[in-house]
């Protein structure tokens, strides 16, 4: 009899612990995946009801400009045209990204190429603090500073796309900046050295060599910022004016997918058309977030191939 041999032929306590631990970790990860699947399932099943149960035409949903689900038009079909919100969402997203990009890239270049010391000591903590400020605080400042400012400058109510753009610009600035910093830092040192050795100035090296090499990473950062802007709800809702009208300028009250959702979902009855139409907006939001995700992956793949 050899006790050690016998012990090796039996499952040990460690083996049992291992099996149990593996199961626990598998359970946790499965739960996360299940949540994601459930989110898609529930939002889709609600959001599609507008089209399958209430027989709203998908194209008119996307292209019509009147959002009053309670009222029926001349043909007896409900008026659920989501175009104003779609335009509002894309409007604030693109405008804020356009303004934020030069600031973010500039700040990132400052932090990596011009003055890494000041960047690390001052700009880095500033960026981290900006990320940490909750979105309702941005909304509150937008409401109490940005909106009156626009009102005084341009007249009108001050609410609208411009105010939303302003607030989102500050909100996505840190996201885009820190991702651009990562992208610039990932450019190998010898790229810079080679360019400088050829007699190029620091700016020539930065703009023609470093930024170009970091382009996929910078683009990813910008798309991340856009995804954040597109999905931001409360800060935008507080300053955009919440009128489901096609905006005819930047300072007239408008709305976004998220703003209509936050102000509307509590005031409608579950299962009614008004409610279903809101869930269709939520579904649209979900699909757009997916689209941004795919775009980021695509940029990543493109970057790898180079």
């Amino acid at each position: 009899m050899d006790p050690i041999r016998d012990a090796m032929l039996r499952p040990s306590r460690s083996a049992k612990i291992e099996r149990r631990g593996r199961l626990i970790s598998l359970f946790c990860i499965s739960l996360i995946v299940a949540v994601v699947v459930a989110i898609f399932y529930f939002v889709a099943s609600r959001g599609l009801a507008t089209f399958f149960e209430n027989k709203v035409n998908l194209w008119s949903f996307l292209s019509k400009t009147t959002w009053s689900p309670a009222i029926k038009d001349a043909h007896g079909a409900p008026e659920v045209g989501a175009l104003p919100m779609i335009v509002g969402s894309f409007g604030v997203t693109f405008l804020s990204a356009i303004i934020a990009t030069p600031f973010a890239v500039g700040a990132a270049i400052f932090m990596t190429e011009i003055s890494p010391n000041l960047g690390k000591k001052i700009l880095q903590p500033v960026i981290e603090l900006l990320v940490g400020i909750p979105s309702v605080v941005y909304g509150f400042i937008g409401l109490s500073v940005v909106v009156p400012f626009i009102r005084n400058l341009f007249g009108g109510t001050g609410f609208g796309i411009l105010a939303g753009t302003f607030v989102l610009f500050v909100m996505i600035l840190p996201t885009v900046t820190s991702m651009t910093v990562d992208a610039l830092k990932a450019v190998p040192r010898h790229y810079r050295e080679a360019s400088l050795a050829l007699g190029a100035t620091r700016w020539q090296t930065t703009s023609r060599v470093v930024v170009r090499a970091a382009m996929p990473g910078i683009l990813t950062g910008i798309v991340f910022g856009m995804a954040r802007a597109f999905g931001e709800a409360l800060a935008v809702q507080m300053v955009i004016g919440n009128a489901a009208l096609l905006p005819h300028n930047l300072i007239s009250p408008a709305s976004t997918l998220t703003s209509v959702l936050t102000s509307g979902i509590g005031n409608t009855v579950m299962g009614s058309l008004e409610n279903n139409a809101l869930w269709s907006l939520a579904l649209l939001l979900l699909l757009m977030s997916l689209a941004f995700n795919l775009l980021i992956r695509w940029i990543g793949k493109k970057g790898e191939m180079k």
């Binding site: 739960l31 995946v33 270049i109 102000s263």
Partner: protein, 294 residues
């Protein structure tokens, strides 16, 4: 223009950009603190809110925010640990792992309002939890999980593989090695990530409006029976948090002193978030030093 001049000009522009960003943050913080801090008093921090008259406080909202945070962390931390361990230790390089990673990425990039709406649909309506702390905590968990999981995974991966080999070679299982050797070594990173996550959760409002609700019924702070409806601990009562309160009084605007209350509440919120940030750095450094100390 000569390249040298362009270089100088560009450098100047970059300094201006960096300066503008610093000014933006400074004025943001300055505005909130100057407007808000004078409004903060013991009375403000402890008394209940008022709907139609001035002089209301944020006592219940403040308590709700912390209670909700605690509950959300209690649910999400073990799940994130388990999921992070799976990804760092057990996930094989195959299509299934790709699917899992994609799912987590999607969850982390979902707008929080969508997470809140899902919580409303499933926890509030389907499971009949109603507008409650529990619904809110579950919504916050979903909002918090992907980032926490990634943080746990990264922290575990940062521990050298030789440590795992050391445990395995002594006859310990991978799980035992991870729990008793790798996690303690990854603790500074994990805890820093948790505290930063807590800061995010503390300021989150969009996910809570339709899950934890927008009302803060009066609480009896002498009643600690979690099953009693007036008890602060009851997880089935609606619970407006500080962040939701700021949003609500600004969108409804029926309080005469809404601006002052929001400023005070914003200041409290910002101070709390700053405290979480500083705490994260301090605790992370402290544990790291303690563990590597001779």
């Amino acid at each position: 223009m000569a390249p040298k001049k362009v270089d100088k000009l560009a450098t100047g522009v970059l300094y201006v950009i960096a300066g503008v960003i610093v000014v933006i943050l400074a004025s943001l913080l300055g505005y909130i603190l100057f407007q808000g801090v004078p409004h903060i008093s013991w009375h403000f921090l402890t008394s209940p809110a008022k709907s139609f008259e001035a002089g209301g406080g944020i006592g219940i909202q403040l308590f709700n925010s912390f209670y909700l945070l605690l509950l959300a962390m209690v649910i999400s931390v073990p799940l994130a640990l388990g999921a992070g361990i799976y990804l760092a230790e057990y996930a094989k390089k195959n299509w299934l792992t790709d699917v899992i990673r994609t799912a987590i990425e999607i969850l982390s990039s979902l707008p929080s309002v969508v997470v809140g709406l899902f919580g409303f649909l499933v926890f509030v309506l389907q499971f009949k939890f109603g507008f409650s702390i529990l619904s809110g905590a579950l919504a916050l968990t979903m909002f918090n999980l992907p980032l926490l999981t990634r943080n746990v995974e990264d922290s575990l991966r940062a521990v050298s593989f030789t440590q795992r080999e050391a445990g395995l070679a002594l006859g310990l299982s991978r799980w035992e090695t991870v729990i008793h050797v790798i996690i303690p070594e990854a603790l500074p990173g994990i805890i820093t990530g948790m505290i930063l996550g807590a800061g995010r959760v503390f300021g989150e409002a969009a996910a809570l409006i339709y899950t934890a609700g927008q009302s803060a019924p009066a609480l009896d702070f002498g009643n600690w029976n979690p099953l009693n409806i007036a008890s602060p601990l009851n997880p089935f009562r609606p619970a407006e948090t500080l962040a939701v309160h700021i949003w609500k009084i600004n969108s409804e605007g029926i309080q005469p002193d809404a601006a002052a209350v929001s400023a005070g509440a914003s200041a409290v919120l910002i101070i709390a978030v700053l405290a979480f940030n500083l705490l994260a750095r301090y605790v992370g450094n402290r544990i790291y030093k303690k563990m590597t100390a001779a």
